[in-house]
């Protein structure tokens, strides 16, 4: 088990080098001069521009730039971004916000998705089941940004239940609206996944055995059906956490959440290689750890799986 974890963690190294190189190169290849882009029609003296270029190693060839970036990374010196702010401080500011948002969204989709999914599965073919199925299809079909704008306008502006945007006051309460929007689409997937699994397991031999043995209905559902139905759901949720941490660009944009997605978008627009790669590096770690946790959860959920 320990050896398995170590082996998995060692895999991070090539993945990490590969992704950072790729992302760094893509930002490097963006057209336009990022330093000139910092200024409008009115450009500062050439010496100021040259000093900035030198500060960000933009006057060096690509491999030197990337090498210097790696060197700084391994000495835990992420440098400063184009607004002269330390990138480390930026990371420390944006990741907690996005983590809050992601966790809230994950809880919403996991709790509600599994709950509705189990009930729908147990009442297969009944009114509740069909209603939920149709509703989830609608949710999947509507793009996130539409949901975002509708929720923002209805709950934020017209009803005034929540603040329309999050801005500087990012806390659990203010993040609920974006978290609902963010979690809703995956909620529908989780629901459908759970429902199918439950229906499949309801007809399994061990469930019939358990019922025949005279176990109470709740015990059969919780211990036998639910636990076995969770395996595909956990995989999905685990993979989703990584996505939620890095991919909330649309939702964070609509609700002006000062998180990873927003910053990433801004940094890409400005052609800020170091910031983009720093954020992506953390995201790579999040993905790897989330996937590892999922794999470990498997073993717990399904005793047939053993890691050596």
């Amino acid at each position: 088990m320990i050896r398995y974890i170590i082996r998995r963690l060692l895999q991070v190294i090539p993945v990490f080098l590969g992704t950072t190189l790729l992302v760094y190169y893509m930002v490097f290849a963006l057209p336009g001069d990022p330093i000139a882009a910092l200024f409008g029609d009115r450009q500062p003296p050439q010496s100021v521009i040259d000093a900035l270029r030198n500060q960000y190693n933009l006057d060096q060839p690509f491999w030197v730039q990337y090498g210097l970036f790696l060197k700084n990374l391994f000495t835990f010196n992420l440098g400063v971004d184009f607004t002269q702010q330390p990138i480390a401080a930026t990371l420390a500011r944006i990741f907690p916000v996005t983590a809050m948002l992601a966790i809230e969204a994950l809880i919403i989709q996991a709790v509600f998705g599994v709950l509705f999914g189990v009930f729908a599965g147990l009442r297969k073919g009944k009114l509740f089941d069909s209603t939920v199925l149709v509703a989830s299809l609608v949710v999947i079909a509507v793009p996130t940004f539409v949901l975002g704008f509708v929720f923002q306008l209805v709950f934020g502006v017209q009803l005034g239940w929540a603040k329309p945007t999050v801005g500087a006051s990012a806390n659990w309460g203010n993040l609920i609206l974006p978290a609902v929007v963010l979690g809703l689409v995956s909620f529908a997937y989780v629901l459908r996944l759970t429902r199918t699994s439950v229906i499949e397991n309801m007809n399994a031999d061990y469930v019939r055995t358990a019922t025949a043995k005279g176990l109470s209905r709740p015990r059969v559902v919780l211990a036998h059906i639910l636990r076995n139905s969770m395996i595909p759901v956990v995989t999905y949720l685990g993979a989703n956490l990584g996505g939620l941490m890095g991919g909330a660009i649309v939702t964070e944009g609509i609700f002006n959440v000062p998180g990873v997605g927003n910053k990433l978008y801004q940094a890409v627009q400005r052609g800020e290689g170091p910031t983009v790669v720093a954020i992506v590096s953390v995201l790579v770690l999040v993905f790897v750890v989330a996937n590892l946790l999922v794999d470990l959860l498997y073993a717990w959920l399904d005793p047939r799986i053993r890691y050596e």
Binding site: P31, G32, D33, P34, A36, A37, L38, F39, G40, D41, R42, Q43, P44, P45, Q46, S47, V48, D50, A51, D59, T83, Q84, T90, R93, I108, F112, F116, A135, S136, V138, V139, Q152, F155, G156, V157, L159, G160, W161, A162, K163, P164, T165, G167, A168, N171, W172, G173, N174, I176, L177, V180, L184, F187, G253, F255, N256, P258, N262, K263, Y265
Partner: protein
Amino acid sequence: MRFTRTSKALGLAAIVALAATGCGGGNGGGSGQAASDPGKIITAYSNEPQNPLLPANTNEVYGGRVVELLFEGLRAYDPSGKPVNALAESIESPDSRNWTIKLKPGAKFTNGEAITAKTFVDSWNFAALSSNLQNNGFFFESIDGYADVSAVKESKGADGKTTSTPAPKAQTMSGLVAKDDSTITVKLTQPEADWSLRLGYSAFYPLPSEAMKDPKKFGENPIGNGPYKFAKDGAWVHDQSISLVKNPDYNGPRTAKNGGVTFKFYTDPGPAYTDLQGDNLDVSDVVPSNALKTYTTDFPDRNSTKPNANNATLNIPGYNPNFQGEAGKLRRQALSYAINREEITKVIYNGTRTPAKDFTAPLLEGYSDSIPGSEVLTFDPAKAKDLWAQAEKIKPYDGSKPLQIASNTDGGNKEWIEAVANGFKNNLGINAEIQPFAKFAEVLNLRKSQKLPGLTRAGWQGDYPSLYNFLGPVWATGASSNYEKYSNPEFDKLLKEGLAAKTPDEASTKFNKAQEILFKDLPGLPLWYRATPIVWSNNVVKAETGWNGGVLYYNIEAK
């Protein structure tokens, strides 16, 4: 909506949680009362400043609006753009070259440091010194001795690129002297009648001595002398907000009518607009392009669209063989006659632009809408065709490639450029199209390296309210923003004469004479002037923009 069941459940969960944390919208009534509350803090749209908040280093709007509230200079601009004395008691010059500035006594920074003549001299020398790498250092270029403090060393790298590194030959400008505690004398390299107009610009603000010891640290928590001050150390929460409160000791022309301004940062104007609709934000000067048609109905009685000192032009590089010589001149005129400015400003811009009448901007002293030659700015397809035909007789047009108009496509530029290109197509029979770029910087690179295949969009926002500011830096030979390298000695001469003029009137006459030359050469085609649409919430009485399109935050009353 069909998915009411689930969403109701989720909505309910949301209500419970929101009630628990107590963060409702809280806009229950109160919109009727007009009594203002001078202690209330207002919120305003902004974005993360790009540099530490040092006046001479701030050359973008989001940092600029904060710096302007934190500091006060020798002069300030009133809402119409007229400079009034602020810290200066008097600013005089017998010959427009030697200036004597007397300071009002008793001015202080919020940390208690007194503001004397020496404060200004030190601040300006700091800003101009090339090794301090201040973005706005060139604002001091007219002062005697600037050449020495701003000197740079140019070196050629292995790849043939020149790099310039600061190499100042002196630490202070010889023309700038603190005579005594309250007198500054300034000697310029040449007479400049409008020099004193610049003194309200942020580059000329005074800095406390602390700033020069550690500029970067100071820029995080600036200490100023303006109508506002930082709410506390660390009031700038990066990527989120900057909180300013009223400076009670401020005594000047821009006294705050509210208790403070909190700038909330938005990466996109869309959410800010929604926030305004929900009274979660009080004022925004950026209306998203999809709301340009609706903002007057979305915010009835809570919007304003005032013109400001800002223009847009379509520049025609002199290195383009199609537009050189006598034929080129005729073609330039033809292009100008083929643009329907009236219609574009109405249909595409919904009246947030007005057709240009000159190369500067309205609101400026000396502005004229009837400069000889400005008739080329009217829409006249017949004349356009005729001029084009005349040019064809002199030298045939090389139409092997379509005439391209370079522009970044963000910021709603695509629509009007397509309209202009269609005007060229329909009225001149030439093939024209937009040359799209993702970013402004890409266009700028082409412009700087003189490699534009066709025309380019350009624009100018006034630094200080003066005709010269719209002509000198943009069209004078070798000027900093003259990327197409337009040059006409006659134009340069008239500019110089205008600067040396004894009275502002005489100067304006010369500058407008210089514009006549521009209208003959047409290095660029004036398109329109900008008006800035702003909207405000139910929490404030009214908001307005100043001469440069910036919101006058200090004038906003909260209710």
